[in-house]
């Protein structure tokens, strides 16, 4: 069980930084709490005592959301469920609702925060691949010498390894910013051992934009999770497809491109095979949702993967 001597609930960044300064080395930040509570149990960390827990979810800046000028800004303490039910966010981030529906369950999605999902830096974190595909950045703040400092790190520079991030001891994650991509078709493919409350063995986020002809890729973005310590963009596959005409052969060649970063030692063969299938399935689903012409792909190909 998780025990603490004090549980603090600051309502402003100033209060939060003051609490962190006062309890330096004895505190942990807590947001949704959906990871830290199960972590402090038998079979994982066991009984854990953290002298001071600082809950950052009542700081208003951390729950703000806005879509403007081609950018999305989402407070770090935003519950995952908002990516499913906030229409403006869902429109600007076409694969996020599909990621959210696979994320834990309806109730945990109301508790778990997007910032917590990133800060945990689990190789299987479902929130990471879609945000990578959106070229998201993470805004971090600290108070040093009485001055509020902010920095924006690209997500792939924020997550450094399994469970490792660039978040400094005196920093708070404020928000996630990314491109708004309305008009893209989005997909999120995931497999685990069941269909709810399930950890990804492999997951893939896909975003596709078509050009005016509806027969050519204007943009393609793919990111994979679950297969290596840090989720990855499939840059080479994206480059191979970007600007190209949509046809079955090209899709097959794209999916066959070597993916040597499938590093997970367990179930490696399995993961490689699923990744291949998911690249196809993710592209096909995203193409369809982007409004591609019905006849751009061979029906057999769609049937074989969709």
């Amino acid at each position: 069980m998780l025990t603490c001597d004090e549980y603090l609930t600051p309502t402003s960044l100033d209060e939060a930084f003051a609490a962190m300064a006062a309890h330096r080395g004895r505190h942990r930040l807590i947001a949704g709490g959906t990871d830290i509570l199960p972590w402090a149990r038998e079979g994982r960390a066991g009984d854990v005592d953290v002298p001071v827990l600082i809950d950052i979810t009542r700081i208003s800046e951390l729950t703000e959301r806005k879509v403007a000028a081609g950018r999305v800004r989402v407070g770090a303490a935003t519950p995952i469920q908002r990516f499913l039910d906030d229409k403006a966010i869902a429109t600007a981030m076409p694969c996020m609702p599909r990621c959210a529906i696979w994320f834990a369950d309806d109730q945990i999605r109301e508790q778990a925060t997007i910032g917590g999902n990133l800060a945990n830096a689990s190789p299987a974190a479902d929130g990471v691949p879609p945000l990578l595909a959106h070229a998201a950045g993470v805004e971090l703040a600290s108070k040093r010498d009485g001055r509020l400092m902010r920095r924006l790190l690209p997500l792939n520079k924020f997550i450094l390894g399994s469970g490792k991030t660039a978040l400094a001891d005196d920093e708070i994650m404020i928000a996630i910013e990314c491109d708004a991509l309305p008009g893209y078709g989005g997909s999120f493919e995931k497999v685990g051992h069941r269909r709810s409350l399930v950890i990804s063995v492999v997951c893939l986020a896909g975003l596709v934009k078509l050009d005016a002809s509806r027969r050519r890729f204007e943009d393609v973005r793919l990111a994979l999770g679950g297969v290596c310590p840090v989720p990855q963009r499939l840059t080479e596959v994206e480059n191979f497809l970007r600007g190209a005409a949509i046809d079955s052969g090209r899709l097959e060649r794209a999916a066959a491109m070597p993916l040597d970063f499938v590093q997970s030692r367990t179930r490696r063969e399995y993961r490689r095979e699923v990744v291949h299938g998911f690249v196809m399935r993710g592209l096909i689903n995203a193409l369809r949702r982007a409004g591609a012409d019905a006849d751009v792909l061979k029906p057999e190909l769609e049937a074989a993967y969709a």
Binding site: G33, P38, I101
Partner: protein
């Protein structure tokens, strides 16, 4: 340690109280406010028995620090249907959606949330919205039926009279769908399971468990733990007053490890303290010196000559061997046209009843040691406990509290002995509630099995001979292994006439988690092998799988493998009924797959593709709400 101040509106009433800073919302509701309709099934957000509304949003209260409830409006299952059951609760009652009932308050809450979000949700969307709530009894079917029924009443498609009970006018109740009499107490959260019960002046028990699979206990020092403030008693095997041993068939398991531990998770000592946190801290102060012993982790290792021995009485590590013999298998195979041999393996599985083990014990005014727990066998537990406590049998009283799922897993008396001894020692009521992890690590599993099955048949599909050898990992203690081996041996070859049979089942001791009783008790593992095997044979012989079973089926008057004549036998009726109900297309099982014409009929659900809320199911009537 500054306490938190919690001001909240809970079930419509203002509550102002202090709480410990580390408490979770579930602790505050259950322990401080006695709102025990909210259950704890896993403590990790994985089961949904603790779902409550916080400011109108359904959350898992085991994942929420109570500090987050400050200023919030909290609604628990007790807020629903205060004067009469809510529409959903009535629908659960009507549909027969509750069985053990432990998941049901959470399920009712999740369903309430689902219908508030979309009173026109279709069946698939309902299932998605209930995806965070696990039920182990019902298979979910009647739960989803209930939500669909309630949905149609809520959205006005049907009248509320659909929730009324059908009357049985003729006084014939055997054969009637009488509604479950215990359902109202379950859908409302009113029913108290052992972990919900409190007694005045009650102490809380925690158990120290072995970190070793096989080790000698060199020394066990409880003095520091026993001296802690708030600790009333610490017990070890030395505190057992009578004959220390229990088990369903052999009494090979001590109340707490005696001299050595045989599996990880075995009880070594127990503490009774004023609260759970103190009891857990005391566990950390118990000093045990172990000398690790060589251990066996598979039946192959356990059966190797010279293997480490778990129990002196079984030097070969064989817990039980059951043979069944009919005819002469050598002759039977010689008469066969086809002989197929194959190995089948099944894994250990956990009962995963949603109610973790829990129990209370006290010594009553007449000196009767009284234990309330969800025991599946109070009769046998009373016998064993009287011997363990060295008391006359009428000085031991076992009360079976409502069982939040058992499936065989609550037949073993693995914690009631500790509770009884602590109640006697402290002269105060004591309560132990297992965590989910403790339940998983320390209680019985279904026996993992390895079966080598050789079957000989003639070309017309008749079985001539079966040789069946099944070896099961019984783990560290005997529990129900003997019975499981017996049932597997009697039933394993299936309900077929087999003139020549050599059947052997073996239960083996290992240093793995003990295996024990589990619904279908050996018959499941053994018949998985036989029924898979028949399909292979049917394919090789070009016979329809129903037909091969019909050809060999036991009929009234047939003798079973143990040579018992059957007064009645309904296998042929069952085969016929299922072939008809499923519209089975005849043919040998040659992996016909997509070529079949009997696929996709009305008895199937649609394939699950998540996201009915995103794409919008066809014809979904969301607009009707607006």
């Amino acid at each position: 340690m500054p306490d938190l101040r919690i001001d909240a509106i809970i079930n419509g009433r203002k509550v102002s109280r202090t709480a410990k800073p580390w408490q979770r919302l579930i602790d505050f509701l259950r322990e401080d406010l006695h709102l025990t309709g909210t259950k704890e099934g896993c403590g990790a957000g994985e089961c949904g028995t603790c779902s409550v509304f916080v400011d109108g949003v359904l959350v898992k209260s085991c994942l929420m620090p109570v500090a987050k409830a400050q200023g919030a409006r909290i609604d628990t299952v007790e807020s629903l249907g205060r004067n009469e059951l809510s529409v959903l609760q009535k629908a659960f009652h009507k549909a027969g959606a509750s069985q053990c009932g432990y998941c049901i308050p959470g399920m009712v809450m999740a369903a309430t949330s689902a219908l508030r979000a979309n009173p026109f949700a279709d069946r698939e969307e309902i299932k998605e919205r209930l995806g965070g709530n696990v039920c182990r009894c019902t298979g979910y079917q009647k739960i989803v039926d209930a939500v669909e029924l309630a949905r149609d009443v809520v959205n006005g498609r049907i009248s509320a009279t659909a929730l009324e009970e059908e009357e049985t006018a003729d006084g014939r109740f055997i054969g009637a769908n009488v509604r479950r009499l215990d359902a109202p107490s379950k859908v409302s959260g009113a029913l108290k399971y052992a972990g919900d019960m409190v007694m005045a002046n009650m102490l809380h028990v925690q158990v120290l468990r072995s970190p070793h699979a096989h080790a000698r206990i060199v020394s066990l020092d409880i003095s520091e733990a026993a001296a802690m403030d708030g600790v009333e008693a610490v017990i070890t095997s030395e505190d057992v007053p009578g004959v220390d041993g229990f088990g369903v068939f052999v009494h090979d398991q001590p109340v707490m490890a005696r001299g050595k531990v045989r599996y990880v998770g075995e009880a070594v000592a127990a503490v009774a303290a004023e609260d759970v946190v103190t009891a857990r801290r005391a566990l950390a102060k118990i000093k045990v010196v172990y000398e690790p012993l060589p251990a066996v982790f598979s039946v192959e290792e356990a059966l190797r000559p010279g293997a480490p021995v778990l129990h002196d009485y079984a030097p070969d590590n064989v817990t039980k061997h059951i043979p069944v013999r009919v005819g002469d298998v050598a002759r039977g195979f010689a008469e066969s046209d086809l002989i197929v041999e194959q190995v089948y393996e099944t894994q250990a599985v956990e009962h995963a009843y949603l109610e973790p083990e829990a129990g209370l014990a006290h010594v009553d005014a007449d000196g009767v040691v009284t234990i309330q727990s969800p025991s599946q066998n109070i009769t046998h537990h009373r016998h064993m406990l009287a011997r363990i406590l060295a008391l006359p049998i009428n000085k031991v009283r076992m009360i079976m509290s409502p069982v939040g799922g058992g499936f065989g897993g609550k037949e073993d008396m693995i914690y009631q002995g500790m509770l009884a001894i602590l109640a006697i020692k402290t002269r105060r009521p004591v309560r132990l509630v297992f965590t989910r992890e403790e339940s998983i690590a320390s209680t019985a599993k279904r026996h993992p099995s390895k079966t080598t099955l050789k079957m000989g048949l003639t070309l017309d599909g008749r079985i001539r001979a079966v040789e069946f050898n099944m070896v099961c990992d019984g783990g560290a203690y005997g529990l129900s292994t003997e019975g499981v081996m017996r049932k597997a041996a009697i039933l394993g070859a299936g309900p077929y006439n087999i003139p020549n049979l050599k059947m052997d089942t073996y239960g083996i001791y290992t240093n793995n988690t003990p295996s024990g009783a589990f619904r279908s008790f050996g018959a499941l593992q053994a018949q998985f092998a036989t029924e898979s095997h028949l399909d292979i044979c049917a394919e090789r012989l070009g016979i329809d799988p129903f037909e091969i079973r019909r050809i060999n089926a036991m009929r009234p008057g047939s003798k079973t493998h143990t040579k018992q004549p059957l007064k009645s036998a309904s296998l042929l009726a069952a085969l016929k009924a299922v072939a008809q109900a499923s519209g089975w297309e005849k043919g040998p099982p040659t992996s016909r797959g997509e070529a079949r014409r009997d696929l996709g009929g009305p008895g199937n659900r649609p394939s699950c593709t998540l996201g009915s809320r995103i794409d919008g199911a066809p014809g979904q009537a969301r607009d009707e709400v607006a």
